[in-house]
């Protein structure tokens, strides 16, 4: 009985792990894809079938050629050899046995000479279609074949002995590739595409918004929680009511306000309006209400000012709530896109934030997904590093937001 219980336990655990791992793979795969693609060369990103790791075609220096030649794995006499592509687009024909059209050879046109009769090419009709007849060199022997199609071939040569040449289709040949990471993509993106400046701007904005919002929320939350003043409760209800209002309602008037104040295209527009929020105040107020009153009253009797009480008693006690608010604000400020898109213009790039720079990068580097994804990585990795360092904070913040709400 006990044993079978254990067995079923193990089985259900195993099942749980399988399900969890499956989901984890789905969750992680896009990030891995981003990371590996950001180290590729543009051509490699269009490879089909898609591969995760960055590959690069190998080239070999060959005497007599200015540029190094691309290497391919070519089958020679049943063995795979590393050959170089010396010439492309060699006109070729598909030559077939008139008796059996499926038995065909694809060879350069130079290996074939048309069979003439009275100066006219000889035509052979197979299955109702007329084909020209050629003398074709197949290996060492000459065959009389009909040309059924045209194509082109590449000449692959042994890099050590250029006279050993094999002709075959270039596109379908297997290039010799090796895994090679291109970290310089990041340098490219940071410098050329202005992501470096966007990164510092985003850091600055996030820092100021988080700090500012913490200050106003803590102070305001304290006033709502502990200080009696006329109109407090109706004001609080008003605050609460506005939490639900979607930001889109505010976009247009806020934009017009920014135009009036002259903050369009200025970092100030990304910081100052975001320092004051109803949500943060609400969050802090909810927490401060739960702090016991007696310590505070004792301090008041000792002659402490309200500010001292806030600093000495409430602030230390509110660490979890502050962490929650800081986490949310951080993510919001770092990832926001709609408002910067509206208020920061594309022209003067020195005031771009990461999301905006990314939006421009995707247009400019549409032909280089490796760069676009390197840009995406630059915007995604910093919060992710923070998340790994302070995982507990993030997840507990999320948890508390659900329970309290």
């Amino acid at each position: 009985m006990v044993k079978s219980y254990k067995l079923s336990q193990i089985l259900s655990n195993l099942l749980a792990y399988i399900v969890l791992t499956l989901f984890a793979a789905v969750m992680l795969f896009p990030f891995l894809f981003m990371l590996f693609t950001s180290f590729k060369v543009p051509k490699d990103t269009f490879n089909y079938p898609p591969r995760l790791l960055p590959y690069e075609a190998q080239v070999i220096e060959v005497e007599g050629f200015e540029e190094p030649l691309p290497a391919y794995a070519v089958e020679v006499n049943g063995k795979m050899e590393e050959y170089v592509l010396v010439e492309k687009n060699i006109k070729a024909g598909v030559f077939a046995d008139p008796g059996d059209l499926d038995n065909s050879y694809t060879l350069p046109l130079t290996d074939a000479t048309p069979v003439l009769e009275n100066g006219e090419p000889v035509m052979v009709t197979v299955d109702g279609e007329a084909y020209p007849m050629f003398d074709v060199m197949v290996g060492d022997e000459t065959k009389q074949l009909v040309q059924t199609g045209a194509t082109s071939l590449g000449a692959f040569a042994n890099p050590d002995n250029l006279s050993q040449v094999v002709y075959q289709n270039v596109r379908l040949s297997t290039p010799v590739e090796s895994v090679k990471f291109h970290p310089e993509n990041y340098v490219d993106v940071l410098e050329l595409q202005n992501m470096g400046r966007a990164l510092t701007n985003t850091t600055l904005i996030t820092l100021l918004v988080v700090l500012g919002q913490l200050v106003t929320s803590v102070v305001g939350g304290y006033a709502f929680a502990r200080l009696r003043f006329p109109g407090r409760d109706s004001l609080f209800v008003f605050y609460l009511g506005t939490i639900m209002i979607p930001f889109v309602v505010l976009v247009i008037p806020l934009y017009q306000l920014m135009v009036m104040v002259g903050w369009v295209d200025r970092l100030a527009a990304l910081i100052i309006p975001w320092v004051f929020t109803a949500y943060g105040t609400f969050l802090m107020r909810q927490f401060f209400v739960t702090v016991p009153r007696d310590i505070e009253e004792a301090a008041l009797i000792d002659g402490a000012s309200r500010f001292q009480i806030l600093r000495k008693i409430f602030l230390p006690a509110a660490a979890p709530a502050i962490a929650t608010l800081a986490t949310f604000t951080f993510l919001y400020a770092w990832n926001s896109f709609f408002w910067p898109l509206v208020v920061i213009n594309t022209g003067s790039s020195q005031n771009h934030v990461l999301t905006l720079a990314l939006n421009i990068l995707r247009g400019r580097a549409a032909d280089a997904p490796n760069l676009v994804l390197a840009g995406a990585a630059i915007s995604i990795i910093p919060p992710m590093l923070l998340f790994i360092l302070g995982q507990r904070f993030f997840i507990e913040s999320a948890m508390s937001s659900g329970v309290k709400g």
Partner: protein, 559 residues
């Protein structure tokens, strides 16, 4: 009694209060004159419509409040202190902000952005300092050692911060600030700030408070206003004010260049202008049924055996609303149901759960723009990974089971049938982990005894889940669903980044917010866009209210 009170006031305080009264008289007079001058239109400042009215209103209120303050202060009444402080405080803030504005402090945050990168290293020093002092807390048994640590940490942080300021360029900044103050206009602003500050001090100081018979409740209320004021002022300026303004704009035909006319309800009328016409046969052409100079075909319905064509004056709004609701309808369950199941698996006490929890959480902290770019490539019809996986799977099934499945070759983002679904899948991927964590929090609040009791009663896993977990998780579920819906109805970034043209193909991913953006910032119908925003707000409000109602009802049954 009254006489006694006067005797206890020392002459200095009495004089200060008298001076303040005089200040209020001056302030009232100046405000009155300025207000009248502005109203008469003879002010040097060239002010445009709304601003002029605002200035007049401010002047009138300043004058009235100041006059009142004089009256109350003269009688040494408490209320005089309140009014005087409020007037002076607001004046102080106003002139302080104006000074900052004209000193270009706000605008120069840009320049800080330029130099900030240089100072980042020093900021790391601040963090290290904090870590050192926090490390000291580990030595709880040895207070001396812990103090030592916190002291060292403090100094490291302070010095690093100082270095940071230097690196960022505080010295030239201060120099320019001072040189700018030489401007007489700016200087007078700063001076006014100081004057207001001085009169706050005259009334705020303890002897004045006593002289004006301040009691505890009065002081507490003032403290309350003071503490709330930064938040409240900012909130009014950047939230409540724009909110009202937005309502006003929605009744105009405002463009982004300052041209506006009051159009009343016209914007709303255009949004809601629908026309239903019966059709003789279901495949009639729109020009035969509707007045196409006004309406466009929205959809066709068959009702009670009769065919109708619905036309709308603004077809795109209704299409965007449909897409938005459809998105919510698909994305919410897709991100909530797997999350509910996953959280139950995660809640079992087997090792490694924290790792999985962290992995699931990852997508929700990544920027949506970045994530959209990643998925755009995954969705690529020709070389994308998703189609490749499908091809591999189809080939696998075909070869192992001898089936003849056809590789669908889905053109995810360029096919009207799949574009919205593609975005739904991505959005669900991004929010699922967050919801899982929320459910996990809810699950941990469910008492274990309930499950134990159920096991004793012989309940299986499924019955435990259905009879205990689901009902007790209802509050969390409510929260998750409500926030998910609110988020889903505001979808914008994904579509903006992933589809080309945004909202395409054939408007199949046009959402309300995207439509609003296009109207407001591409076609410059900001009045109309504002009206759209309010309609969206009403929809969100309605959905949330409906949720609340259901939540209340279900609670009544469950408990």
């Amino acid at each position: 009694m009254l006489g006694n009170a006067f005797i206890s006031i020392d002459p200095k305080t009495k004089n200060l209060i008298r001076v303040t009264s005089v200040w209020h008289i001056v302030l009232a007079a100046v405000a009155l004159i300025l207000g009248i001058a502005t109203a008469a239109g003879s002010v040097l400042l060239e002010l445009r419509g709304v601003l002029r009215i605002v200035l007049i209103v401010i002047c009138i209120f300043t004058a009235a409040a100041s006059g009142w303050a004089v009256y109350e202060l003269w009688g040494f009444r408490r209320r005089g202190r309140t009014i005087s402080l409020v007037v002076n405080y607001l004046g102080f803030i106003l002139f302080f902000v104006l000074s900052l504005h004209f000193l270009q402090v706000f605008i120069d945050i840009d320049k800080l952005g330029e130099t900030f990168g240089r100072g980042l290293i020093a900021l790391v020093g601040v963090v290290i300092g904090y870590l050192i002092s926090a490390f000291g807390d580990r030595f709880e048994g040895k207070p001396e050692l812990s103090q030592q640590y916190s002291k060292v940490g403090k100094w490291v942080a302070l010095i690093s911060f100082f270095v940071f300021l230097l690196l960022v360029g505080i010295i030239p900044a201060i120099a320019t600030l001072i040189s700018r103050m030489a401007n007489p206009f700016i200087f007078s602003l700063v001076l006014m700030t100081a004057v207001f500050g001085f009169f706050i001090w005259t009334i705020w100081r303890e002897p004045s408070a006593a002289a004006l018979k301040a009691n505890n409740a009065h002081k507490e209320a003032l403290d309350g206003f003071l503490f709330l004021s930064p938040n409240l002022l900012g909130f009014l300026l950047f939230f409540a004010g724009p909110l009202l303004f937005s309502l006003y704009v929605s009744f105009t035909d405002w463009d982004a260049f300052g041209n506006k006319n009051w159009v009343g309800l016209q914007n709303y009328a255009k949004i809601f202008n629908l026309n239903v016409q019966p059709m003789d046969s279901p495949d009639m052409v729109v020009t035969e049924v509707l007045d196409t100079t006004v309406y466009d075909e929205l959809t066709r319905v068959k009702l009670l055996g009769k065919n109708f064509m619905i036309g709308a004056q603004d077809k795109l709004f209704w299409i965007s609303l449909r897409n938005t609701l459809l998105f919510g309808l698909l994305a919410v369950p897709l991100s909530v149901i797997p999350a509910l199941l996953l959280s139950n698996v995660l809640n079992s006490k087997i090792p490694g759960m924290k790792f999985f929890r962290a992995v699931y959480f990852l997508p929700s902290i990544a920027a949506t723009v970045g994530v959209s770019l990643i998925w755009q490539w995954l969705y690529n019809a020709a070389v994308g990974n998703i189609n490749y996986f499908i091809t591999v799977a189809v080939n696998f099934f075909n070869s192992t089971f001898g089936l003849a499945l056809v590789d669908p070759q889905i053109r995810w983002l360029s096919d009207t049938k799949t574009a919205l679904i593609a975005i739904v899948i991505m959005a669900a991927w991004q929010t699922m982990g967050y919801n899982t964590v929320l459910f996990l929090a809810g699950l941990q609040n469910i008492p274990k005894e309930l499950y134990e009791a159920a096991v004793v009663d012989g309940a299986g896993t499924f019955r435990k889940f259905w009879n205990i977990t689901v009902p007790l998780l209802a509050p969390t579920t409510f929260f998750v669903i409500t926030t998910s819906i609110i988020q889903a109805l505001q979808m914008f970034e994904q579509v903006f980044v992933m589809t080309n043209p945004p909202g395409g193909p054939n408007n199949s991913t046009l959402t309300v917010v995207l439509y609003l953006y296009q109207n407001g910032f591409q076609r410059f119908k900001q009045g109309y866009a504002s009206a759209t925003a309010w309609v969206l707000f009403l929809v969100i409000f309605g959905v949330t209210l409906f949720q609340f109602q259901r939540q209340r009802n279900s609670e009544a049954y469950d408990i």
